[in-house]
């Protein structure tokens, strides 16, 4: 029993003055903690209530808490090494809770864990293992921050982080060292006091720094709205989104104070990565600075000094930030909330945006093309009109109905549906789902489009919808809920994957296809395997460096495809280069917007480029051409 020779040493017989000093220090430390934390808590609690929020779905909340907080799943999965180091520190702290309370209690002569008792001995050893892991973890993080210096942590070295790291390391070291002394040794007393001082210094630092996340983020994760990019309903006639401090809700304020400034959101942001001024971390910190300086329940505009309107309208709503965030911040509702505030009040003035809004106010599609052009396409392809007898309503979307290349994707998918014997019809009065105006924050036009489409769908007695556009899928299924009950909808990748074994297979299975995950299919809908399964019928599917939930945006989302020229590098070019660099002979897409953005980007290249095909086109290529007199063969 070698272990028994190591027993945690605890000083004995604390003098009265020591007890008084300890009590005084504890009171001072707690007071310093509360002086700041009380203010933060007050700001959060004074913020307005979250419309539509309820504590239901406890199962989901508990699961998120266990997974993201206790098991540190997001922290580790998205940045494995630093994530693990962080988890070790976190778990160390958890294990240490009992030890710390006992440590202080011992100072008053009331320890409840005996180093020699069975449970106490076991627990101190148990905590020692965590203390060791924690010390290694914090040392690694220190080395990363001060020597590796990843740029996402900011150009400026944070000495406060260094000091915190020192405190944590010292806490662990003073604990572990006490295994090597005896109760009566003066060193034990020194170690005890050193440990105590570290604790009492650490406590007030928490609310004054980003280490506030220690206290807040468990609550942030537990209380999150849930879902992905859940845009809250507007609350009555005077709510236009995030206009001023009075519009900041408790959740927004809680999330703003929870930010740990890790920069994962910036690291994955397509805007930040292509030289735009938008940096999602700065948006959140801007809200925090506003809360600090101005506070909630005020009329000072949120956009201006603390966050720039220009930055907010550079967001593609790809959701990489929200997906990455380890402390439960929901960036998209904040970003879109700020846009809503600017658009719903008319503060945002942009020629392209105004044109888009006016087009969708009076017309049927975001491209501003007469609906008669869509009819011509439907006639040419001989698509049947949906009359209630067909199984599926084939939703064309703006790109499928008007964009020449989008039409090719729809036509290819329709041929595959015919081949599979699935009946479908199209709607003559389909309008834009409102995706671009929803993301740009125009609630008026979005409501008009959602309501008119919902009414039309109800009249047409549509049972199931299938579409080639992930943006249509998301908007119909999630965003329309505010105005009615949309019929179930699925993306063509999900439809095709169900029939994977009936799809024609390409003869030469050697074609290398690099698949680009659309944001609105992947992060928004959690569909990753289906499009790959479909593409796999046509060749060998490979992933680009950033794939699946870490996929890099094409630049079209959030209504940005309809706005003017980007500043800095074009997002579409950055991603297209990454896809080309894989050496694949084909780029596979599953979203007509991505397809269009890459077509544009590849078109600008003077080098030979891979072919660009939607997964439906990849499948349709191998259909027997003669056996099925599809619309293609009718073309002269």
């Amino acid at each position: 029993m070698l272990l028994l020779t190591f027993t945690l040493a605890e000083p004995e017989n604390f003098a009265v003055w020591e007890k008084l000093l300890l009590a005084g220090l504890i009171i001072a430390s707690a007071a310093l903690f509360w002086r700041r934390f009380g203010v933060v808590l007050d700001r959060i609690l004074k913020s307005k209530n979250d419309p539509g929020f309820h504590l239901g779905n406890l199962g989901r909340r508990v699961w998120d808490f266990v997974s993201e907080v206790m098991l540190q799943s997001k922290v580790i999965r998205q940045r494995p090494l630093p994530g693990l180091a962080h988890a070790l520190v976190f778990w160390g702290f958890c294990a240490f809770a009992l030890v710390t309370v006992n440590h202080i209690a011992a100072g008053f002569g009331l320890p409840y864990l005996s180093p020699t008792g069975a449970f106490g001995r076991f627990y101190f050893y148990f905590a020692a293992i965590f203390a060791l892991a924690c010390a290694i973890g914090i040392l690694s993080l220190f080395i990363r921050r001060f020597f590796v210096r990843p740029r996402w942590l900011g150009a400026k070295l944070s000495w406060e982080s260094g000091f915190i790291a020192f405190l944590i390391f010292a806490l662990m070291a003073t604990y572990l060292a006490a295994f090597f002394t005896t109760n009566h040794a003066p060193a034990t007393r020194v170690l005890w006091w050193a440990h105590t001082l570290c604790l009492l210094v650490f406590l007030p630092i928490i609310p004054h720094t980003k280490h506030l996340h220690l206290v807040l983020s468990p609550a942030t994760v537990f209380l999150s709205r849930g879902g992905f990019s859940s845009i809250p309903p507007l609350d009555g006639d005077e709510d236009f989104g995030l206009v001023a401090g009075q519009d900041l809700t408790k959740l927004v304020s809680l999330q703003a104070y929870s930010c740990v400034e890790c920069g994962r959101c910036s690291e994955h942001c397509p805007a930040t990565n292509t030289g735009k001024i938008l940096n999602p971390k700065e948006i959140i910190l801007g809200v925090r600075a506003y809360l600090n300086d101005i506070g909630p329940r005020t009329e000072e505009p949120l956009l201006g000094k603390y966050n720039s309107q220009e930055a907010v309208f550079q967001c593609t709503t790809c959701g990489a930030c929200e997906f990455q965030c380890p402390v439960g911040i929901e960036h998209l509702p904040i970003m879109i909330g700020l846009r809503r505030g600017a658009v719903n009040t008319g503060a945002w003035e942009d020629d392209y945006g105004t044109k888009l809004f006016n087009q969708l106010e009076r017309g049927s599609n975001a491209l501003g093309i007469p609906a008669a052009e869509r009819d011509k396409f439907i006639q040419k392809e001989q698509f049947p009109t949906f009359d209630g007898t067909q199984e599926y309503c084939l939703w064309l979307g703006c790109m499928g109905g008007y964009d020449p290349k989008g039409r090719e994707i729809v036509a290819a998918f329709a041929r595959v549906m015919k081949h599979l014997g699935s009946s479908f019809g199209v709607l003559r009065k389909e309008k834009c789902t409102g995706d671009p105006v929803r993301r740009l924050g125009n609630d008026l036009v979005f409501q008009q489009l959602a309501e008119s489409n919902l009414e039309m769908l109800a009249q047409s007695k549509v049972g199931k919808i299938v579409t080639i556009c992930p943006h249509c899928v998301r908007t119909i299924q999630e965003d329309w809920k505010a105005y009615g009950t949309p019929p179930p909808i699925e993306h063509h990748s999900e439809f095709l994957a169900r029939f994977a074994d009936q799809l024609p297979r390409s003869d030469q299975n050697q074609e290398k296809i690099v698949f680009h995950d659309p944001c609105y299919l992947g992060r928004y809908r959690n569909v990753y395997d289906e499009p790959r399964a479909v593409a796999a019928t046509a060749g060998k599917v490979i992933d680009p460096p950033r794939a699946r939930e870490r996929s890099f945006c094409c630049g079209a989302g959030g209504g940005l495809v309809f706005l003017g020229e980007e500043t800095g590098e074009r997002v579409s070019h950055a991603r297209a280069q990454e896809l080309v660099a894989t050496g694949a002979s084909t780029i596979g897409t599953a979203c007509p917007f991505c397809n269009s953005m890459f077509r544009d980007a590849l078109g600008a290249s003077n080098q030979p480029v891979p072919q660009l095909l939607d997964i439906a086109q990849l499948v349709a290529r191998s259909l027997p051409a003669a056996s099925e007199p599809g619309p293609e063969s009718l073309k002269k």
Partner: protein
């Protein structure tokens, strides 16, 4: 209440083409009822235009000359024509559908207690006047009722200017009473839109070039064509991205939106980003060697062929036509 008056306009001292078309419409109207067709010229100096129309096959030329008619104002024109119409009591008064006519004819009709049937594209028996509705998606057939004179204007190009045969006609003066004080608007000298800054949006003719041009060195080919047409040059995004033409000439979703009378697309495949910027053009001509290029879906005229052969041939043919 009989006879047809055709009110002519002058341009650069001569009777305008649109006015001859209006005369042709007036003669067509008379053809159904055998009424005499007279022309009306008005202005401060109307010798030349009166002589122009006197050399055509018309019953009479009524010449209204008054110093207050020198520069067009709706008040003076309305007053002069109201007096003429009241003294002549014609069955029909025909105008060319010009910006000037649109400015006073509705008021003139109202002053006469009448309704003006504007922008007529065809005249059938009855007479029935056909107009375009819903921006050309429908046509409507109008009939005039009641006893007063019926005022109509005809759309440019609806009747053939050269359909009016030559002849000789008597020129009769008509002197209206126009009170200076009754003229309430003060028109300024006409001026050209500023040529300083490029405004593709208001260009009437555009030649646009796309990736099919391959090299910057080939641009003069297209510039020659634009020169021969008197058109502005525009481009799709890759051309401007490459810096071959300035960004301000880019047509499309991230550039300018244009709606010219003619959009001639050379070597442009027609990505949606481009189409949304030019789909409002009145006439689209596309030249591309790929018969499947989406630009052909929006084109009125398509030439499938090698632009390096087709474009010089068009430039040549245009020069020959002038």
């Amino acid at each position: 209440m009989s006879g047809i008056l055709v009110v002519l306009e002058e341009r650069d001292g001569r009777v305008s083409r649109a006015s001859w078309e209006a005369l042709a419409a007036g003669r067509h109207l008379a053809g159904n009822s055998n009424q005499p067709v007279s022309t009306v010229v008005l202005g401060a100096n109307t010798e030349a235009t009166a002589a122009d129309t006197a050399a055509k096959s018309v019953a009479r030329v009524i010449r209204i000359a008054h110093p207050l008619l020198e520069r067009y104002t709706p008040d003076a024109y309305t007053a002069a024509l109201q007096q003429l119409i009241q003294s002549e009591s014609p069955a029909h008064v025909v105008f060319p559908h010009t910006y000037q006519v649109r400015d006073f004819a509705p008021a003139l009709a109202a002053r006469l207690g009448q309704v003006f049937i504007s922008d007529v594209v065809a005249i059938g028996d009855g007479p029935v006047f056909t107009r375009q509705l819903m921006q050309g998606r429908l046509t409507g057939n109008y009939r005039h009722q009641g006893n007063g004179p019926c005022l109509v204007s005809v759309q440019a190009g609806a009747f053939r200017a050269d359909a009016v045969p030559a002849g000789t006609a008597e020129i009769l003066p008509f002197d209206p009473q126009i009170d200076d004080a009754a003229i309430r608007t003060r028109p300024g000298e006409p001026f050209r839109g500023s040529a300083q800054t490029l405004d593709l949006g208001s260009a009437q003719l555009i030649v646009a070039v796309g990736r099919g041009i391959k090299e910057a060195e080939n641009l003069p080919l297209v510039q020659d064509l634009a020169g021969a047409l008197g058109a502005e040059i525009a481009a799709s995004r890759p051309i401007c991205d490459n810096g071959w033409l300035p960004m301000e000439r880019q047509v499309g979703s991230s550039g300018q939106t244009v709606a010219p009378k003619l959009y001639l697309a050379v070597g442009i495949s027609g990505a949606i980003q481009h189409l949304v910027g030019m789909k409002g053009s009145q006439c689209i001509v596309a030249i591309n060697k790929d018969p499947e290029a989406p630009i052909f879906e929006v084109a009125d005229y398509a030439i499938v062929g090698d632009l390096f052969e087709v474009v010089p041939a068009i430039t040549e043919a245009l020069k020959a036509a002038k």
